[in-house]
């Protein structure tokens, strides 16, 4: 059982949340053809990191907000949560990405 600390609602069971995906991917600036590679990367390419990973979850049974979660994919430990704009790696001083 994972407990995710929603920045608005407080600690809640992970069953209240829907997994959205990798939070490190940024939407490309332009949608014209010149940017095809960037779009291919944004839509399809995902890393499979072992260790710390920033991901988005939606609190779909609660406030319906998107929540950024810093999770260790090896141990399932949830190290930090925040709003989607937050950089949780920088927030958690002393922690570095293992990959």
């Amino acid at each position: 059982m994972l407990i995710i600390n929603c920045p608005l609602c407080g600690p809640r069971d992970h069953a209240e949340f829907t997994y959205v995906g990798d939070a490190t991917k940024n939407r490309p600036e332009n949608s014209d053809n010149s940017n095809d590679n960037a779009w291919y990367d944004f839509v399809y390419l995902r890393d499979n990191p072992k260790g710390l990973h920033q991901e988005l979850w939606q609190h779909s049974f609660g406030c319906r907000c998107f929540v950024k979660v810093l999770r260790n994919t090896l141990t399932h430990e949830i190290i930090a949560t925040g709003m989607p704009k937050d950089n949780l790696i920088l927030k958690e001083k002393g922690l570095e990405l293992s990959v």
Partner: protein, 203 residues
């Protein structure tokens, strides 16, 4: 061909629980009587309201005579009308059904500033009351229901017995639970099972 009856009576809102509710005392009733009281609140007007304009909110507060709660997971209101915080810029307005609240708001505000969704037909409301009410909530959801954490005028949107539910703390041991009407019968049965060990009365 049967004639369509358009009299006001036939349009009265029907309860989603009326056919499953049995009134009386059930379960493990001790000498001190039931420690839990369950009843349905019906009919209610339930509106979801979305707006991101603070001026509109102030005007709405004046119209409805109730302030809008801005603190997450809290409610404001009186015995009649309640406003629950649902999420950022989103609230739930609840009151016993008499007039048409939706029309009242729509007459004063245009649809580009206030977005209204009428949920009155889609929700069933159950009131839990008594010293074991929190124990029932604890059985169904991992939210911190302790009386120091979940106090009067707090609300929570959560999964209660695996069903999407909104819980409004009306008083220290009084809770209004809003559940999707389609799951109300299911919820009612789960509630009877959960309450049996405490002894409960259906009013």
């Amino acid at each position: 061909m049967t004639e369509v009856n358009t009299s006001k009576n036939s349009l009265r809102r029907r309860s989603g629980l009326a056919h499953v509710i049995n009134y009386g005392q059930f379960g493990n009733i001790t000498l001190s009587g039931p420690s839990l009281f369950i009843c349905e609140r019906h009919p209610l007007t339930i509106l979801q309201l979305d707006t991101n304009k603070s001026k509109t909110l102030t005007d709405l507060s004046n119209l409805l005579n109730v302030e809008f709660p801005h603190t997450t997971n809290t409610c404001k209101g009186n015995d009649e009308r309640r406003i629950l915080w649902l999420g950022p810029n989103r609230w739930l307005i609840v009151e016993p059904e008499h007039g048409c609240l939706q029309t009242l708001i729509k007459n004063e505000f245009n649809s580009s500033e206030v977005f209204l969704t009428d949920l009155s037909h889609g929700r069933s409301t159950v009131r839990l009351r008594g010293r074991k009410a929190r124990d029932i909530l604890m059985k169904g959801s991992g939210v911190d229901w302790h009386l120091n954490s979940f106090v009067t005028d707090n609300c929570a949107h959560t999964k209660l017995f695996d069903l999407a539910a909104t819980v409004d703390c009306r008083d220290i041991d009084v809770f209004d639970i809003y559940i999707a009407r389609g799951f109300a019968e299911d919820f009612w049965e789960i509630l009877q099972d959960a309450a049996a060990e405490f002894g409960y009365q259906v009013d």
